[in-house]
Amino acid sequence: ACGPSAGTPSDSASGSSSSAKAKARTLDEIKESGELKVAVFSDKAPFGYIDKDGKNAGYDVYFAQRLAKDLGVEVKYTSVDPAARVDVLTSNKVDVVLANFTVTDERAQKVDFAKPYMKVALGVVSPEDAPITDVSQLDGKTLIIAKGTTAETWFEKNAPNVKLQKYDQYADAYNALLDGRGDAFSTDNTEVLAWAKSNKGFTVGITKLGDEDTIAPAVQKGNKELLDFINDEIVKLGEEDFFHKDYEETLEPVYGNEANPDDIVVEGGEVDD
């Protein structure tokens, strides 16, 4: 192990060994090492963030903890930027990515996705006094996005007239929106809804954009053993309505009763509509 810790569990990046093979670890190797290395967001409340005490928390984290518990190991978190999610897997910096990772074709070529545990579409949040309610309104305007998100890909492909202002990190993107550096911000609708609820003066003018997508855990390409384990786990957890519980613990405090959990949560890996 190399490197000191900044006191948060999320910095496993600096706690893990600094060099290893880029080949994924087997289930046995994970169990033997006693820890599951998971990539999560550290600035995307309420899905993956650092709370006031400096601890990782959120919907993804709740799942990660359970996954590790059922494996009989501890979790080691690595915080990632959206754009780094594929590379942390290909270079074997983590075993699993649980960072609101939307399943797309491009990504599926590089990593293996397990069964989904959430569903999303894109949403657009904008200031209340100049709301954006349709994509056409964005023509010639500046849209803030985070690099490496599905929102980026969607707007690059479908809205060539929108000026994109891209940040490495969600936190920077939100700050930019607060400081009025762009006309709107787009990312997963779950995410913008949550954010608009807790930030006065902002509204989600577009709640559903593009295809409905799913969010799933991802492992390194070809790591079938771990993939199968996670798939089994998701099916098993579906029987106990685990993700609804997760929702109650982490998302409900934010969304309150305005949202229907079934719009977000996927149980047992089965998207029902």
Partner: protein, 224 residues
């Protein structure tokens, strides 16, 4: 201003300090490891062997012309694939700082060794000192003196450059600051100003003494 209270929140300053510690740790490890690398590189650069010279030139010029951030990206994303060698973000930072610092220090070492007048080693030869004695007792001590001020400056630059680690996702002082800003956004909307202000100041407090030391050394040894 109300926002300043964010600094008094329990845990905020300690966490920032812990973040700073990560920063300083990366810098310290890198600087420490740079020293042997730099001495070796410097020595290699004084050799007359054309192949060694050419290789060192390429190494030095490439490292010098690439922005450190680009080097960090190469190490973090590139190395794992090219050499099937996996580095975490901290490891990549340390590796880059060692390669970069080693090259810079190597050039300083070369300059220092070559700046020692030939007559010094000639005097040692005439007095009967062996080559090794002459190097250890005469050349090296003088080279180190000329080297030290610039090396301390290099250390300052390495500390400053550790700030780039945040862009690879290392949880160091800047990242901790961003997490704090994020977690306290509603109570302290002005948090960015204060937290970034404090981080700014923290870097200054780490680097400034080094600059002063470098300047002192330079003055003291300039006229010897």
């Amino acid at each position: 201003m109300s926002g300043a209270d964010i600094l008094l929140q329990p845990g905020v300053l300690p966490r920032l300090l812990q973040g700073l510690w990560v920063t300083v740790w990366i810098a310290a490890v890198s600087v420490g490891a740079c020293i042997p690398v730099g001495l070796l590189v410097g020595w290699l650069m004084t050799l007359r062997n054309p192949v060694v010279r050419f290789l060192m030139r390429i190494y030095l010029d490439f490292i010098r012309i690439m922005p450190q951030l680009a080097l960090l990206f190469l190490a973090y994303y590139g190395f794992a694939r090219w050499f099937d060698w996996n580095l975490d973000a901290t490891g990549a930072c340390v590796l880059v700082f060692i390669l970069w610092g080693g090259a810079e220090l190597g050039d300083l070492v070369r300059g220092a060794l070559q700046s020692i007048p030939e007559i010094q080693s000639e005097s040692a030869y005439v007095l009967g000192l062996s080559d090794w004695q002459s190097f250890v007792h005469v050349i090296l001590p003088q080279a180190l003196r000329r080297l030290l001020p610039a090396s301390v400056n290099l250390a300052t630059r390495i500390v400053k450059t550790t700030s780039l680690a945040v862009l690879l996702g290392v949880v160091e002082v800047i990242k901790v600051g961003q997490q704090i800003i994020d977690a306290n956004r509603f109570q302290y909307p002005n948090g960015t100003l204060w937290i970034y202000g404090v981080i700014f100041f923290m870097y200054f407090i780490v680097c400034w003494p080094l600059s002063i030391v470098a300047r002192r050394l330079e003055k003291r040894w300039a006229n010897d």
